[in-house]
Point group: C2
Chain length 623, copies 2
């Protein structure tokens, strides 16, 4: 949760600057210390023990890097967080707004303010190898150097730092996964053999969870658990807190006692021993053997592998395999989205009745949404903190309501709710923007541009092999035409009962290195518009990439399009239908017909009569 | 000109492979030799003496790299040239189709076929520094090495290699340039000072021509001349064949005898002495002095600059300054496009009369177009070889008619002409696709999709700071919807009486590193569709980036759009108007109204009555 009053950091910065000169931790003083936002697995969401960047500066958004020098303290974050970061940090901190032309990169900024021959420190476990490389190169070429500080300097001044979590593991059967972990290991080894790779160091938590068909709850919202894996052509080494393997269900699932085949025997090691075990594996490598590691893995672990044996890859084969959902996973994701839509229909029907009473707040809606979701079968938890925002709070892109910011819903302001859940069968992420009174013409106009962008992506047809970033402008064209825009990407990959943000695909103007979209991939489609101080609009569905039927088929490449998995009505009251083309008009009606049929059947089955009435009313065709 | 019968290369390859082992040229034999397509300035179009890649393999398209090993010979080129390259090369050559998923990169291919510890040779003057770096890195990491071969091995086997050209220089006055070369040098020095740069090595021929307001004709179609320049804060060193400076007009223009200010004195050196002179400048550098050089400059020249002094930049300040046309240049470009449109209206009016006679061929139209353009004031030459193609020849994207491929225009086939000229006031590049009989429904359908794509880009409104590559999908959306596409980018920068292709902006899905579009930049907008064996369609205008008026102005960023400079009717007969939206319909009518008014006035002024009648008929509003 983020407070709207800034964290006071004078004393912390003083202590950190002392640590930067303390020979207990470093042989020579460092002139700057970088505090990235990740953990040792470069996770986006992190456990409390890893919230070091928040600890030092107060800003608790999901993305951002802090740098402290002897004189300065600065935080880099992106457009989603400009407002939030400026509210959470005190005057000791400079906010560096990424994506604006005038904002220096971390490297350029360091070079511009550091004295000659400076040393810049960073914890090598927390910085990704590719970031280390870029930063190190930029600093070297300006006469400075990047140094690995083994003791994390934030931890040295963080008195009541929480302990690392070790939650119970959940085993997932074929009904949810479609493939056993043994199938997945075998397929992975096939890809390793194809590329003559003898070992693969798995560091991303969602890749390990997916590979072993296991889930945990070490990190809130992300059903993962702290672990590493080293997969060889005939070895499987799993590094995880050994207490977690005492559970008989886990023992059986992993066949720890009686592996079906020798090459499918899992050797278990304590989590902390990955460093020394990887050293041992590397020491035994034959001259030409190659080892895969993601270039986003930690610098510390990457550098264990001698360069001659290291093959650093931008996306691992597990990341790619995980992104393309199999038929079982697709079916499960569809089921999760049906249940999630039921909960949201319940919520909106309830809101319509409750809001006039004047007692419904951002926080109470978020709580109610969680309660309604938790009534659905196989509910595990939320997939991210609910963004429940009224009026001006909606313009804070990744807002999260707190007691001191909590607004009451009314008939006069736009309400935006971006929420999602984890079910055993899938992960959801949906945003709807609604008005319970009468929206202004301007609000409707903006909403309709956003809707046009949403439809332009959702209904886009594009050749096989197209990267998602090529679709980003489709989402913006209607806004651009009127001089409007939004400062975030349009979509991200979504896991299947896994992280709500996953690679290697997405829809964003910011990257060029995404992997091409393929049938079976699942992404979000979420354009928006934000008017600072007034309101925020976003319309988000999770969509499945499917083959498209086209009139022609150029060079037999085949075409793709999207099928919405999210089936929650889009509020008709917010649409200025005069601005829609016939095609967009038909899209809205088709979408609402599908919502009515699919979610209607489930509401009926669950006996939720009032919500069914609401659904039928909200899915009337527009004329 | 490219012959449709392949060049026989058995003997040449034998000789080259001998040279690759000849200790006269190299100390140790090399196992592969790379033949890039450029010259020492990395020009796209090159002088006959530099056509080494064509000499060795027969393929004469504007882009492509050949690699010869002891066993293999392979050529990489892009989608524009697949057909042409396959026709021009004999069976000794493998065509590597770039952009297709299954095609290996040059690096991957070399690594896959080379014996262990191989040496790969290349002429360091012909390979760009960034390409050298990438290739060298990829080869090293596989145990091979890239070596600079000082003697160009192609030249050693090329018996009648043409001499390097040294044509007369043209001086351009303020009327055309808007700025004196002294103004430009001063502005450049301002940018150098801003970035604390004391020297800048200018290697791109169009940058040198633009900086000094000089033109030449060393390279066909591109009005440039072979030269280098080294600009210091108080020095100007120009490297050019000294005979060219004897011309009194050039002497006066460059103030060689009486410089107005000491820091604007040009020191002239022979072209060849750039290497030793740059060594001398580098030897005298103070410890912290930095020198700019483009990362696309030759490896040979780049490596003269010690790394500690070198600042390699993707786009030079001259490239950026040249891309944003000043008001005088914009006015001049508009004039050039009016004259060019007059010539094309004449051409199409003439074609309508002549085609029924059955005597008009691809070549005769190209000749006629050149004749008509040459009647216009300040005509200098063509800006690229005219693509004049009937029916199936139109599907060869960069086709150029030759006696053995020359087809006769008829009432039954689609005709595509992509042509342009150099005038003292500007450079043109326009493509029109027409039918002189009755097009089929399918031809009209495809044409209309291409037109929709052309309009989508031309009428696009987008925020300041947007990169051109984000607009590429707009050009494809209508084609994609029907399962169609085209395998080339959508637009390139266009010089002002300079190269018809220039950086740093463009509209292509292939790059991420283009510079943002700015008001004053000029690019082409040229989507297409090509049906192998049947027909080709392309609609190309040169368009100027201008500020757009929008209803709102998000974060005061301002918006941009395009204004067509090309004003030549788009054939109405080819349009299926049922497929147009109202907006597209209006765009066509507005465009034709502008063609009629602007070009009509000029046709009237020039007394070209028949063409004026044709123009009026071809610009009737559609209903």
């Amino acid at each position: 949760p983020h407070a709207m009053s800034p964290k006071i950091t004078v004393e912390l910065l003083r202590q950190l600057r002392q640590a930067m000169k303390n020979s207990k931790y470093i042989t020579e003083p460092i002139q700057a210390y970088i505090i990235p936002s990740g953990d040792a697995h470069q996770s986006e969401y992190i456990a409390p023990c890893d919230c070091r960047r928040e600890f030092i500066c107060g800003f608790n958004g999901s993305a951002g890097t802090a740098i402290v020098t002897e004189q300065h303290a600065a935080l880099w974050t992106d457009g989603r967080y400009f407002l939030q970061a400026s509210q959470q940090m005190d005057n000791n901190w400079t906010l560096m707004k990424m994506g604006l032309k005038e904002t220096p990169s971390q490297e350029d900024w360091l070079v511009s303010i550091l004295p000659e021959n400076s040393k810049v420190g960073v914890d090598p476990w927390i910085i990704a190898a590719d970031q280390w490389k870029n930063m190190s190169k930029a600093l070297s070429s300006a006469g400075h150097s990047l140094v690995a500080v083994q003791d994390n300097l934030i931890d040295t001044i963080w008195e009541d730092r929480p302990a690392p979590p070790s939650t119970k593991l959940i085993t997932l059967g074929l009904k949810y996964t479609g493939l056993t972990w043994q199938d997945k290991v075998t397929a992975l080894r096939g890809k390793m053999a194809e590329r003559k790779i003898s070992w693969f160091v798995v560091t991303a938590l969602d890749e390990i969870a997916w590979l072993f068909n296991l889930r945990g709850s070490d990190i809130e919202y992300n059903p993962v658990f702290f672990a590493y894996a080293i997969i060889g052509i005939s070895n499987i080494k799993l590094f995880v807190d050994s207490k977690r393997l005492l559970d008989p269900a886990v023992q059986e699932h992993l066949e720890l006692d009686s592996p079906s085949k020798p090459e499918l025997t899992i050797q278990c090691f304590p989590y902390e021993s990955v460093y020394t075990e990887l050293q041992a594996v590397c020491a035994a490598l034959a001259p030409k053997e190659k080892m895969w590691i993601c270039d986003k893995a930690s610098c510390a672990l990457t550098q264990v592998i001698p360069k001659s044996h290291r093959s650093a890859i931008p996306y691992t084969p597990l990341c790619l395999a995980k992104a393309v959902k199999n038929p079982t996973e697709i079916q499960a994701m569809k089921m999760a989205h049906i249940k999630d839509a039921v909960a949201l229909c319940e919520l909106f029907a309830w809101l319509e009745k409750e809001i006039p009473k004047g007692t419904v707040t951002e926080i109470s809606v978020a709580d109610k949404a969680e309660e309604l979701r938790s009534q659905q079968r196989d509910f595990v938890g939320l997939s991210f903190p609910t963004i429940s925002s009224v009026g001006p709070n909606g313009a804070i892109i990744h807002y999260r309501p707190l007691p001191e910011t909590n607004r009451t819903l009314s008939l006069n302001e736009v309400y935006l709710i971006d929420s999602g859940a984890q079910y055993l069968d899938g992960t959801t992420d949906v945003t709807r923007t609604v008005h319970f009174g009468t929206p202004t013409d301007y609000e409707k106009e903006c909403f309709t541009y956003v809707l046009k962008g949403h439809i332009a992506v959702s209904a886009a047809v594009f050749p096989n092999g197209t990267k998602g970033h090529l679709l980003d402008s489709f989402a913006r064209a209607a806004l651009w035409d009127s001089g409007l825009d939004y400062l975030h990407g349009t979509g991200h990959g979504v896991g299947c009962f896994l992280n709500v943000h996953e690679g290697p695909c997405g829809i964003s103007y910011k990257t060029f290195a995404d992997e091409p979209l393929e049938a079976g991939m699942i992404v979000s489609d979420e354009p928006g518009y934000y008017e600072d101080g007034s309101f925020g609009i976003r319309i988000e569905n999770v969509v499945l990439v499917i083959p498209a039927k086209t009139k022609y088929n150029y060079r037999n490449r085949g075409s793709l399009t999207f099928e919405p998995l999210t089936l929650v009505p889009i509020q008709l009251k917010m649409i200025n239908t005069d601005l829609l083309t016939q095609k967009e008009h038909d899209w809205v009606n088709d979408y609402h017909k599908k919502c009515r049929e699919t979610i209607g059947a489930e509401l009926k089955r669950q006996g939720r009569k009032e919500s069914l009435d609401w659904l039928i009313r909200e899915t009337q065709p527009i004329v």
